[in-house]
């Protein structure tokens, strides 16, 4: 007797236990990133990251500018780590053009790259602190990174986006007296970050929120192709500065930091240990650097006639950064692809959050050392 309703009008039964929650974009717990989580009570049953919010098409824009004019905008994805983001592109362009870089420029690059790694990691640490409600850990790193930003300003003239590395070397030589100032600041900086252990890493509240949450086993870290601190916190000793040394990293003595646990605590501790290793590298580089000499081989403004493809990679604050350049002989590259650490680590997020409590989402998510703007480029 009852007439069937058309399918569009038929009521659908709702599973009351499962709720979909949109965290972000622009949320204090997610940054510029939307994480669609499905929760059952307090537990996450599924997670779908949606990174495309600040997409600016860097790769497409690179096809419209020549090798030199690409530099200021290819560093935009991570402005705090702009030297490292640009590094593989510059190395790739040098290989295509067949340029040999002066020795002093290589050391200047290593110093700039390590300073940038610390500047980025301090910013990341500040946000990690505020995500967990630890206000002191927001203010201390935010203040201490000013020391290094001042150094970079002395070196390049700009506080964040430096555009300092160019195919053939670096743009400017170091200012007079830079070595002494740098050594003094770095020594003080290292003393400061050692104090973070007492207030942050040994803090029982932090430990209870990060230990044994979001555990990524060694096997899964390899299988998912994660990189950087996420990989090293899971017990894989892989750092491109050691495994495939570029510029002068093979002449410097340092070690990679590896932890076995693979939980949020290990993932947040490895970048902090890396910063101390960076201070070590900077001190050695300042000592071994040739005291004088050229820092740049001048290029033609429109380098033409380069044919071929190249894939170069470096280790940044967030992991391996690769740049694939295809060139067909025109002044502009035919295709530039940036393979970035944030994008590669994001794949682990759904696996890590499954079965976690919603309250642990910020600590697991931000321990991936994720930079939203870099992931969608």
């Amino acid at each position: 007797m009852t007439a069937e309703l058309p399918p569009g009008l038929a009521l659908q039964k709702v599973d009351e236990r499962i709720m979909t929650l949109n965290v972000g974009p622009q949320h204090p717990g997610s940054g510029h990133m939307r994480i669609i989580v499905q929760i059952d009570g307090d537990y996450i049953v599924a997670c779908d990251p949606d990174p495309g919010y600040v997409h600016r098409g860097e790769e497409k824009m690179a096809e419209y500018r020549n090798y030199i004019t690409n530099i200021p905008h290819l560093e935009r994805p991570v402005i705090h780590d702009s030297c490292n983001v640009l590094y593989p592109y510059v190395l790739g362009a040098e290989e295509l053009l067949g340029i040999e870089v002066p020795e002093r420029a290589k050391y200047v690059r290593v110093i700039a790259s390590e300073l940038n790694r610390c500047i980025y990691t301090m910013y990341w640490l500040a946000i990690y602190g505020i995500f967990l409600g630890h206000s002191t850990m927001f203010m201390w790193p935010a203040g201490d990174r000013e020391l290094l930003i001042d150094l970079m300003e002395k070196m390049t003239g700009a506080r964040v986006t430096h555009a300092h590395f160019v195919p053939g070397g670096v743009r400017n030589d170091l200012p007079p007296n830079f070595e002494d100032v740098c050594l003094r600041q770095v020594n003080y900086f290292e003393k400061r970050i050692k104090e973070y252990a007492a207030i942050f890493y040994d803090n029982p509240i932090l430990i209870s929120r990060t230990k044994d949450t979001g555990v990524l086993s060694r096997q899964d870290a390899i299988r998912l192709g994660t990189t950087g601190s996420v990989l090293r916190a899971s017990g894989v000793d892989y750092d491109l500065r050691k495994k495939e040394p570029y510029d002068v990293y093979d002449e410097l003595d340092f070690q990679t930091n590896v932890m076995k646990e693979g939980d949020s605590y290990a993932r947040s501790r490895v970048p902090w240990l890396d910063m101390m290793e960076s201070c070590n590298i900077i001190r050695q580089a300042l000592q071994k650097m040739p005291k004088s000499g050229s820092v740049r081989v001048k290029l033609k403004p429109n380098p033409k006639g380069i044919v071929g493809s190249v894939y170069k990679r470096v280790e940044s604050g967030r992991g391996s950064l690769g740049c694939y350049i295809v060139s067909d002989g025109k002044p502009e590259p035919y295709r530039v692809k940036m393979s970035v650490g944030s994008f590669r680590n994001l794949i682990a997020l759904p696996y890590l959050l499954k079965g976690e409590k919603l309250g642990n989402m910020p600590s697991v998510y931000w321990s991936l050392n994720y930079w939203p703007v870099e992931a969608d480029r």
């Binding site: 067949g98 998912l224 000499g293 295709r335 393979s339 794949i347």
Partner: protein, 203 residues
């Protein structure tokens, strides 16, 4: 103060140097480079020979240089080749997947950069596996001939990369469990933006 007075002297020298030596410098470098390029890296050659021995005409070695090996596979054999690379050659993850549009050849090239964490001898190596899909001038992403087999069941790490290639170049990956958009806006209704016929406004 002493370092201040030393610096200008040190800086003055290099400024004159780059102007005069460049004509002399480039001449020995290409010669030195050619000498370096001539001997084929043995280790890398061994890797490429193993693949050629197994697959014969199905694959083509595009280049063998230091730490890099380039292999070109056909659309039909790429899945099989990738499986061999993982199981027999110990490569365990994909670092990067790039798509390159070639409108002149009517093809889109997909490039997998494959590396290894678990095998220490391969730590420096990157294997470049390329394959090509037919390209259509009026693309309907997902519903045209621009299709390739997905490598998701071999390398988990390609999951997001292949989703990116799908939206940016319109290459549909058959067998991928989750062929959705990743980066573009939800209401994107234009050409796939990384194709060469998609022009930036004002250019």
């Amino acid at each position: 103060m002493s370092s201040d007075s030393e610096k200008p002297v040190a800086e003055a020298k290099p400024e004159t140097k780059p102007t005069s030596p460049p004509p002399a410098k480039p001449a020995p470098k290409p010669a030195a480079k050619k000498q370096e390029e001539k001997p084929i890296p043995v280790f890398e050659k061994g890797i490429s020979e193993k693949i050629v021995e197994k697959f014969g005409d199905k694959v083509k070695v595009t280049f063998v240089k230091e730490d890099r090996v380039g292999i070109n596979a056909t659309k039909e054999s790429v899945h099989e080749v990738a499986e061999f690379i993982r199981d027999a050659l110990n490569y365990d993850h994909v670092e990067s997947v790039s798509g390159v549009d070639y409108p002149a050849d009517n093809e889109i090239e997909v490039v997998y950069h494959i590396g290894s964490y678990s095998d220490n001898t391969l730590a420096r190596q990157v294997l470049e596996l390329t394959t090509r899909a037919p390209r259509e001038s009026n693309p309907i992403p997902g519903n045209d001939a621009t299709k390739l087999p997905s490598l998701r069941d071999i390398f988990y790490s390609v999951e997001f990369h292949e989703r990116e290639i799908f939206e940016m170049l319109g290459v549909y990956f058959e067998g991928h469990p989750d062929n959705r958009r990743l980066l573009l806006p939800e209401d994107w209704a234009d050409l796939p933006p990384l194709r060469k016929d998609f022009a930036i406004k004002g250019r």
